[in-house]
Symmetry: C2
Subunit: 425 residues, 2 copies
């Protein structure tokens, strides 16, 4: 029950619609969302996946979750499939990925590629407007900001009085919507009148939601929506308990890791606090190439309400495991931070290394020869700072995996305990 944009091989689930311009999907997802490239190697974080489920179901884990000792906090995988989707009911965008954990041999043979994912190619001719009360009321139409209209709408014929034209825009399901675009009033302004209210009604838009218009290279007008209400989106509680969902994602990943078989995940960019499938190269660069220490200043990108990007500044206050018992030696949100601005409403108190940009860059010392790293991030053995709470200085390695091939552990599972189903504490 969703439209799909297939980025690669055959979609396993027989989705029908494809070939929709992925610009619209990315525009709806936001400027910071970046999907990994099909066929490349990625790192999957069960903790991040769990966070998404917790946000989606609006419930933290309540019951007891079994341990999966063979499931590392970061799981290297081959990305076999990436498809973009949009919920038919709500137009909520999400991506489906098919991952396959790498065998020890594959990990050994791995060379970290250079590419770091599909750049979130924000289209040039687009605009995003937050709907006002007037835009969504039944009293009138949609007031188009002047610059927006001139940039993304076809030019009006100003010989007419008033200048009018019909706009045809396609939404993410490839459905056509027609609007009357008129330039009138005193002072003059661009308006969408006829056709606008049926769109608002059909999409159930309210003041505070946003619409996105895109004029792409093929001279097509695309139309997307983004809902304001972050809290409590879908609540599929009537299907499966949230505890079972948490167990399900962990057990599915653990099973796939144990058997080197494929598993499928969904990524909801609008609800998910942080991406939990990232390119291996991005991970390697951040973990082995970056030196961070307590007190260090950093920048981090955030999305604004108007769908643009701004930087927030902060200071690293600690480096430690987020969940030492369940996920020891995890890179997920291992950096504790404080934010400069007091209005740090939804900014997390913990971030991951690849999310931030340290300000004080140390000079790099490339090694004289390719360094062989003996299981540099094996979950079974501690990190350099693995036992240090709030370490003073952390530097992972001078080794640059983007410049030199990275040698990976020969057998990441060889000293792990047999998988059991036991309580944590």
């Amino acid at each position: 029950m969703s439209s799909a944009i297939d980025l690669g091989e055959q979609d396993e689930q027989g989705e029908e619609k494809r070939c929709l311009n992925s610009e619209l999907w990315h525009a709806c997802s936001g400027p910071l969302v970046c999907l990994p490239t099909l066929g490349t190697r990625v790192v999957y974080f069960p903790q991040g996946h769990s966070e998404q489920v917790a946000v989606s179901t609006n419930k933290e884990v309540e019951g007891h979750i079994p341990n999966y000792p063979n499931l590392p906090p970061q799981l290297m995988c081959q990305l076999h499939n990436v498809t973009m989707h949009a919920d038919v009911e709500t137009d909520e965008v999400y991506a489906q990925m098919t991952l396959q954990p790498l065998t020890p041999q594959e990990q050994k043979d791995t060379f970290v590629p250079i590419e770091i994912g599909i750049a979130s190619k924000q289209p040039m001719n687009y605009f995003c407007k937050i709907l006002t009360a007037s835009d969504t009321s039944t009293h009138g139409g949609f007031s188009v900001p002047r610059r927006a209209a001139e940039k993304v709408f076809p030019p009006l014929d100003f010989s007419q009085q008033p200048p009018v034209q019909e706009l045809i825009a396609r939404d993410i399901h490839d459905v056509e919507w027609k609007f009357r675009h008129i330039f009138r009033g005193q002072p003059k302004r661009h308006l969408l009148t006829t056709g606008w209210s049926v769109f608002v009604t059909a999409k159930r838009l309210v003041a505070g939601d946003s619409v996105i218009f895109i004029w792409n290279e093929k001279n097509q007008l695309l139309l997307g929506i983004r809902r304001a209400s972050r809290p409590q989106t879908v609540m599929p509680s009537s299907v499966l308990s949230s505890d079972s969902m948490h167990i399900g994602l962990l057990a599915a990943a653990a099973h796939a890791a144990a058997t080197n078989s494929r598993f499928t995940i969904f990524f909801n960019p609008r609800t998910c606090p942080s991406e939990f499938v990232i390119p291996l190269s991005k991970y390697a660069k951040a973990v082995y190439h970056t030196r961070v220490s307590v007190g260090m200043r950093f920048r981090m990108l955030f999305e604004t309400e108007e769908s643009s990007v701004r930087r927030y500044m902060g200071t690293i206050t600690g480096i430690s495991d987020m969940e030492p018992l369940r996920w020891p030696n995890s890179q997920w949100r291992s950096v504790k931070v404080g934010w400069d601005e007091s209005t740090a409403g939804d900014r997390q108190p913990r971030v991951s290394l690849w999310e931030i940009e340290p300000l004080t860059t140390f000079p790099m010392y490339p090694p004289l020869f390719p360094l062989r790293l003996k299981r540099p991030w094996h979950p079974g053995i501690p990190f350099p700072y693995g036992d240090i709470e709030d370490a003073e200085i952390l530097y992972n390695s001078y080794y640059d995996p983007l410049l030199y091939p990275m040698v990976l552990p020969e057998s990441p599972l060889e000293d792990a305990e047999p998988e059991a189903d036991e309580p944590t504490a």
Copy 2:
């Protein structure tokens, strides 16, 4: 995001609304739905739970699902909580249950109680009408069947011309809806006019859906809906893959069974093909008290479109495991049947013993003294017909657990294999 009707102890999830008349929930669920009683012992069937997920997500299991050898096909549990809910968006009814697998000691001490669940007390003064095209069009109101109006609506004052009154009905979320009830036209008929269309719009009703009006003992008018479209209800595919959901429910139940801890399930009576949590007494009566054989005739209750009940006749064509590899010795849909009427559209080709009513009843031979059954339905040891495909005659026991206490296996897990995460085939 749902209303809840609490049947017992404190709801763990902090739901706010309660105390709604459960008559409405049962009316919306259908006349055959019967929830087990709080505090009693029940039998949980992972296979049935899996069926519900498959129907809800509209996807069969595609990937590979790990085995859970310690999870028996029928799991005896204590029922700690039962709450009735309705989805806020769709009014879809569902129940939440908290189950706790019994310890070997508890199973040993079990006496099968007599009660067999909350009788689905269909209220007396109610009616259910399938909406016509005229009922749902914007052209007019709702045509009330004469008998229905006279039975469940307050009597009109026929001294007026025409007789009119205002009806106030509460839906399952306790929201008030007001309607103008008038008796007019030539010939005279009961109609709901003002207020009806806003209800149809708000609930997104279409022709084919049903409405239910109930006049309960407290002189309250209740109003429920039932949607016609059985196929593809909610599709929460954007949260968790259906494979992960299947794994999740199995892993959650297996973990709870291994640790004797509580787990939570949701039951959707409108989408679920068969109830997968049934009272222990009902199970025991069907499995130990009933003799069935190939060729035997039986009756089974089904719900009609008009929310009433009718019997369909059929013949038993075989008795065997539905999924011999994954669920050996399972009572779930162990009876293969053929239906008399060729229009057996959605009637399953396999049913469970407790769903049918054999027509040829053998005389009962109560034992002279309480019979001690050594693990009569332990999953690790075969049933009397466990190795027989399409057995000619099956009789489980003359022992009647409703008349005599049933002695249960001392340790249902003692000879099970250690839990592993291995492929099936």
